[in-house]
Symmetry: D2
Amino acid sequence: MIETQEKSPKFPLRLEKVGIINLKTLIKIERYNKEFRHIPTINIFMDLDKLKKGVHMSRLIESITEALGEEVTQEHYSLEQLGKHILEKLKEKHHFQKAVIEFESELPVYEKTPASLKDTIEIHEITVKVLNDGKTWVKTLKVSVLGNTACPHALSVNKGKTHIQRAVGILEITTDFTNEIALEDMVDAVERSFSSKVYTLLKTEDESYIVQKMFENPLFVEDVCRNILALASKQFGNCEIHAKCISHESIHRHNVYAEGSVKT
Amino acid sequence: MIETQEKSPKFPLRLEKVGIINLKTLIKIERYNKEFRHIPTINIFMDLDKLKKGVHMSRLIESITEALGEEVTQEHYSLEQLGKHILEKLKEKHHFQKAVIEFESELPVYEKTPASLKDTIEIHEITVKVLNDGKTWVKTLKVSVLGNTACPHALSVNKGKTHIQRAVGILEITTDFTNEIALEDMVDAVERSFSSKVYTLLKTEDESYIVQKMFENPLFVEDVCRNILALASKQFGNCEIHAKCISHESIHRHNVYAEGSVKT
Amino acid sequence: MIETQEKSPKFPLRLEKVGIINLKTLIKIERYNKEFRHIPTINIFMDLDKLKKGVHMSRLIESITEALGEEVTQEHYSLEQLGKHILEKLKEKHHFQKAVIEFESELPVYEKTPASLKDTIEIHEITVKVLNDGKTWVKTLKVSVLGNTACPHALSVNKGKTHIQRAVGILEITTDFTNEIALEDMVDAVERSFSSKVYTLLKTEDESYIVQKMFENPLFVEDVCRNILALASKQFGNCEIHAKCISHESIHRHNVYAEGSVKT
Amino acid sequence: MIETQEKSPKFPLRLEKVGIINLKTLIKIERYNKEFRHIPTINIFMDLDKLKKGVHMSRLIESITEALGEEVTQEHYSLEQLGKHILEKLKEKHHFQKAVIEFESELPVYEKTPASLKDTIEIHEITVKVLNDGKTWVKTLKVSVLGNTACPHALSVNKGKTHIQRAVGILEITTDFTNEIALEDMVDAVERSFSSKVYTLLKTEDESYIVQKMFENPLFVEDVCRNILALASKQFGNCEIHAKCISHESIHRHNVYAEGSVKT
């Protein structure tokens, strides 16, 4: 069997990340005694030694399929635990100094509407990343959550009127693999940082509740970003915390943006 | 030379549209004595007879490059005129019963801010489509324009407070090729249909002007859609007029939508 | 209670589609004794009478949440059955002449690799649409599937060499609600229309199998489109069948395209 | 006049990047005695002191519109020169320690087809970024270019047959502002790194030329990535060079990926 990947490359340069992106598969996770199913987009990478021509790409996929195939005997309690399991499989199959796996998926959260207290399910975008450098295991968790901003400057100069818009809040936490952080708590920290939380289902009384809330709590993107940082740093210890807010301005074609970070 | 395209297909089925999508090139247009340059996405299609295996794809591209190469001797005064020229070239090179070309591009419009009267350039998404069925030439012009909606229902139940959001208005007009319609007039019809127009540059006095306007002119997506239909049908005769409005709700994760059409 | 939606509109124009787009929620379906979970993008619309200012948008969402809430007592055996159930709920809450619901989601299909016969899960994009006009129920099922094309013209002029590329095949079937059609069978019809099927996991022997297959079965996008039409029309009776193929040319920046339709 | 932005924030945290994203405007550049017009997407950011509540967003936009308004008296010879001019304007209007501006646009390049030597225009995606930290000016130039890969492993085990696919090569160079680097030279370095360059227009003889070239020059994404690094490091001194290659596999649903970097 010819092993083209093992040959010498034309230019002996080490590559930082070689692998597969946009792989989709079906994943079952047993979190908090509840079954979650994901059809994530998976990205998986290794570094490549300067003297090897290529990575054996099929071994990356085998590591995924074998880890998933062991579900019966070994359940996974989180996406990060599954990611670690896949990288451990990979280590048995392929040499690397550093490897990373990322899952981009969606998280359903059960909620009550704010005034009518009806049941509603809200879906949030999440990313879970696991990194191994041979010794240490590090994870990065990210949630991207919709909310809104009501402009405090326009409110102060327009006697109780202002412009309001949809905004996106993003919270990303990098921490030791063993530091337990629930994605749901991260979503909650972002939602509490907006002028108001938003909901899929709203009866008229809920809509009024939110309208009042937005006018009582006017915020710049800068404020939302700092709120996320402050709330997250209070709640999550031993972390690198990164936050962004993007506001889809209702009075402009462009978006406004704020980004910051803290360590806890 | 083997002409695989001329062979018989395995299944003798006529195909409605065969061609090229996502072709990008540089185009110069001399509209109203002003030079416009576009790097449009071009889609170009013909029908294919049930007895031919394939279309000669390179002839579609040659029709484009030759029409553009004649710029020096023949200037184009609009994207639709260029489109017609390309389809005429195509007819010399390739048999078809029906052919279509589409340009998706952007239109810069020079404006004044509403209160401070400063210069600002606003960019709108446009699509220009030309269709030939052997005899008649028909065109479809489309503009996609940002603006906003302030909810009239929330305003009426919340004593002068409401939710406001960015919205998109889309106006599409299909008409005889010779019916002259300016894309700028279509943009204007959509902008006048929103709670308020939006701008790239806004000084505090402009922002106040827009905030006041939104509260004085609360509209559902249904209202915006009907406004577009009413304004366009008043202005553009002998047309099929199609309108949409999509509102990026500030109190929800989802968007609300209205769509309608009229003939003039 | 003020009912702004019930007021007269400024311009009394009937609207064809008013509703909600991009709503995400969690759905469980019991198909063929297997549980499927979807987090679809849902679009839901009604027509709007020319004398009513607006649609009561929250009733659209309540129809969805109530239909999903009845899962315990009433299981759903397909996305189309759930869609019908939601539109029936909607009819109790809101007057309409015509209503539509669409689910855009993903379908996991269990497969064996072609030579090594290993297990692999393949994910396909699907859309399921249900339409009611008061009397009849019609559905549209769509699958979007990846495969490849090897160019027969280049192969014939280059002595066994050719260009090969990833392609997308799309099959859309509109039929009476009661006409049972499995999305998996539609996926299969598209996959058999390409130069070769593609897989997530491939061992070297599988890769060789596919490489051979592509060279033995060179196809234009026109061929793939006709193959889909021919295979689907043989398999699915009493249907309007629509097919597209888009090839991401490896020798061009643009894509090539074919589209056609047949009735059975 | 109330200056809400000057107030104290609730949480006194410094923010790294505050500003505007997705702003579109029309820009004229006089490069190499040729007029280029861009409708870029512009992102512009500053850091924000921990004691200020917000950035005066309209000053960011005024810096852009004023710099563009001075075109008559001061021409711009590159996007980076315009970016520097905008940040210099901004410094007069607003305090910052660090500011960045990015232009995402498209670059037309005039080419000859490889065998028939016909004229063709090829369009490439580019990003130009300028960063000022008060003292130094640094720029980052990025090009994203289409080409293809023919798999060397499949070729060696399948007696002259292989799989081929479209690929994207990305070259990003960070260097001192005064280090002159032409985007066209960067595009060229990426194109020479693929199995073959691709073209919009191809006659049969050109197509054959490319098909031959791909089979003579089979490459993994790892090879393409190293080729870009090697060619760019030979040509561009005093730079941080970053390269990526993404191959849209014709035998898989997923993409394969390689990334690396060198300093010169």
